[in-house]
């Protein structure tokens, strides 16, 4: 169930890429990255930029601030664009929209960053747990046949109980809407009632054997 890792940062030679597939992928990523850098430069320094790129297939991608055409015309004619009230209005409006979009962008990037940290924390927790004496927390591929069968029995027993709980809740119509994952983000409740499994312990024979319900300690 592990994700195949991507290539990561590789130092490459600056020469035409021979493998067509790599070339296509590189083009797509770098073109996007180039436009991103251009957009950032426009915002940070208030300059006007245009970038024109032809794809390997001959299609043309272009980026321009304020617009590709205005920059291209300005370059060709060597004259600054006419200074009109209309232009000022359009520019001001555009600037406000871009500012708003950039804030949204920053927000999403921050959320992604936070999510990434959260994922790493969870991975770390899992790694620590699998190293300790709890054999059942090791990846499935590291378990022997006996262990696998034991684990499966425990999980099936747990699943029965969870299903009972969901049935019970839907029958009662008493759905607890409060979020499980609290503000501290840890997702674990400290003082937990364990009466449920104790109730079911007698009804499921496997519970005693595998330890589900009594812990593996």
């Amino acid at each position: 169930m592990a994700k195949k890792p991507s290539m990561g940062r590789q130092k490459i030679k600056i020469a035409k890429i021979e493998i067509k597939n790599h070339l296509q992928v590189t083009f797509s990523k770098r073109r996007s990255g180039l436009f991103k850098k251009a957009s950032e430069l426009c915002t940070l320094c208030g300059v006007e930029i245009s970038i024109i790129v032809f794809s390997p297939a001959g299609k043309v991608f272009s980026f321009g601030h304020p617009t590709v055409d205005s920059i291209v015309d300005q370059f060709l004619s060597r004259n600054p664009p006419p200074n009109s009230t209309m232009r000022h209005l359009i520019d001001a409006h555009r600037k406000a929209s871009v500012q708003d979009l950039n804030s949204q962008l920053t927000q999403v990037l921050n959320e992604l960053e936070a999510g990434k940290k959260r994922g790493e924390t969870l991975d770390h927790m899992r790694k620590l747990a699998s190293q300790r004496k709890y054999w059942w927390e090791k990846p499935i591929d590291e378990l022997g046949l006996n262990e696998l069968e034991q684990l499966m029995d425990s999980i099936e027993a747990l699943k029965k109980n969870v299903t009972n709980q969901t049935d019970k809740l839907s029958v009662e119509g008493n759905v607890n809407l409060s979020p499980f994952f609290s503000a501290n983000g840890m997702g674990m409740v400290d003082s937990v009632e364990i009466k449920l499994y104790q109730m079911n312990a007698s009804s499921t024979t496997h519970v005693q054997n595998t330890g589900y319900g009594h812990g593996f300690f």
Binding site: C42, T43, I49, V53, V175, G187
Partner: protein, 163 residues
């Protein structure tokens, strides 16, 4: 460069803005050149700034003119099809990023639920879980059961298939 996070807004400080401009302009031109060489494609960049009446260009004014001519020779439809201003580009980025975020949220959910599963196996109860959490937990349990079944089958096959 410096791994400090940059605030995506106009730099008010004049000297900071000028030095940022110089640094990033250099980087931008370099990236344009790399793209051009790596993918063997026609590329050009034009920058108008308050620091120079003449625009900064890559590769050269003559080459820029050639690329512009190549652009303008295409039909208006083709020209405009992949033409973007800042708004368009940032919207495109936002779409891409929100897809990334949805995927990330699913992964986090899966990881958190896995922790819950192991806690439950150790004996912790789950009355505090709401309906949605319980359903996700149930699905995860089914997933794990199937994965274990597959693994058991594989091991048995190996054991039997071996000498």
């Amino acid at each position: 460069m410096t791994r400090t996070k940059v605030n995506l807004a106009y730099i008010a400080n004049d000297s900071e803005r000028k030095s940022t401009f110089k640094r990033r302009k250099k980087g931008l031109m370099k990236k344009a050149e790399e793209l051009s060489i790596l993918c063997a494609v026609d590329t050009c960049a034009i920058i108008f700034s308050p620091y120079d009446p003449e625009p900064d260009v890559w590769p050269s004014p003559l080459e820029v003119q050639r690329v512009i001519a190549k652009l303008r020779n295409m039909s208006p439809l083709e020209q405009n099809r992949r033409m973007m201003d800042q708004k368009d580009f940032i919207r495109q980025q936002l779409t891409r990023l929100s897809e990334q975020m949805a995927k990330q949220q699913r992964e986090i959910r899966h990881k958190e639920m896995t922790n819950v599963m192991f806690e439950c196996l150790k004996g912790k109860g789950f009355e505090y879980l709401n309906m949605s959490d319980l359903n996700d937990l149930n699905n995860l349990l089914s997933q794990n059961i199937r994965a274990i079944e597959r693994r058991i089958k594989l091991l048995e096959k190996r054991h039997n298939g071996g000498d």
